[in-house]
Symmetry: C2
Subunit: 219 residues, 2 copies
DNA sequence: GTCTATAAAGGGATAGAC
DNA sequence: GTCTATCCCTTTATAGAC
């Protein structure tokens, strides 16, 4: 995979007219075929990582030749861009909703955790890709929003934790550290949680909240 | 990066005499130069991911041309192999030591968490690479040991948790789930923990143990 | 909307001179 | 132990026929 050309905002080859200037005139902005291809690409990105997935892999999965993909998408980057942006849009909207309701802090904490596990089945591939490839992608201008969104999420979470500390509802010495602790534990479950297993995402959120809120020491 | 040839146990090109049959006669098995190159490679793997790091990147960092790398190492794979194997050897030895001491379960839990944070500065690059690339590498025969080691680690941890439940020292409804919870929260910190920051790894382990053992609800 | 064919560049790895 | 030079393959992406 061409490390220097593929996921770069400014390709090193001479700029061509189609280089992300317009949404590529002939490509329908949205179609069932397009969505299906994106879903397949998302699955492959999640399984192998963005960089290890070639456009030929995607084309194979969709029953096309690689060149035909470019009728639907500008580039491999565009696909991962759409995938991540729509995930973050959805997640942020929901978290803003919860944080904005001014629930009791402990209730808000629970709702935030439940929300994350709830998103697992809907955004499985995007979550995996975000965890695996966001750090790399975020180095390119086009993906700058990844950092912005992550920061807003952190702010929403830390706000909830702080309110809990202020009200005496939660004991949490370092809200930023605690946020990372929760975030990492919760989102990493996407790597091993099986939709077809015995556990529902509700079971998972209940278990994680129990450990998180009650702790491992007997009360 | 040639997806099908690079990290594969059986390259698709015709098998050549040097294909991992012997440790490549002329290459010194260990030398300061070799170690220095491996350290540089490890850093690059951690920063960009194994696949996104080219042998030319590594050679540049070492002040060599790419061809010269092959005097020291068989392949890019061999480098990541050495990196991961030596990390896992060290970590497993220490965890076996702790688990084998038959400490009080709560004490053992604390020692295991401290051990993990302790390994952070020593094995920073390897931990990042393990998290980022192990799933992909483990699909190839050569890296089968990654799964074996991960399983042994899980067994050691779950053993400690189970003993805690049996003795009433810990409340932990699902030891496997709890292990994953702890593992993911602890090891993910490698992505944001800064050695040169205000927090020592000891601070980190204390904070995480507090949340984990005492919980966020006031006692 | 898909295919054929191919461009342009980068990838891992090798051989042999020095 | 490093360099020169290069092989051979894969990659993303394009152009134009159908």
């Amino acid at each position: 995979m061409p490390k220097k050309t593929a996921p770069e905002a400014r390709p090193s080859r001479p700029r061509r007219p189609t280089d992300r200037v317009a949404p590529r005139p002939p490509a329908a902005v949205s179609s069932p075929r397009r969505s299906a291809i994106l879903a397949l690409a998302a699955q492959l990105f999640a399984e192998r990582g963005f960089q290890a997935t070639t456009v030929r892999d995607i084309a194979d999965a969709a029953g096309l030749l690689s060149g035909s993909l470019y009728h639907h998408f500008d580039s491999k980057e565009s696909m991962v861009d759409e995938l991540l942006a729509s995930f973050l849009d959805d997640l942020l909207a929901r978290c803003r909703g919860i944080a904005g309701q001014r629930l009791e802090p402990r209730e808000a904490l629970e709702r935030m955790v439940e929300e994350a596990f709830d998103a697992l089945p809907r955004h499985r591939a995007a979550i995996v890709v975000f965890q695996h490839d966001a750090a790399h992608l975020a180095r390119f201008e086009r993906f700058g929003y990844l950092k912005v969104c992550a920061q807003e999420l952190e702010d929403l979470w830390v706000g909830v934790l702080r309110r809990g500390v202020d009200s005496g509802d939660l004991v949490c010495p370092e809200p930023e550290l605690t946020y990372r602790f929760i975030r990492d534990a919760v989102w990493m479950s996407v790597h091993w949680y099986r939709l077809d297993g015995a556990l529902t995402t509700r079971d998972l959120s209940r278990h994680y909240l129990r450990v998180l809120v009650e702790g491992l020491a007997p009360r």
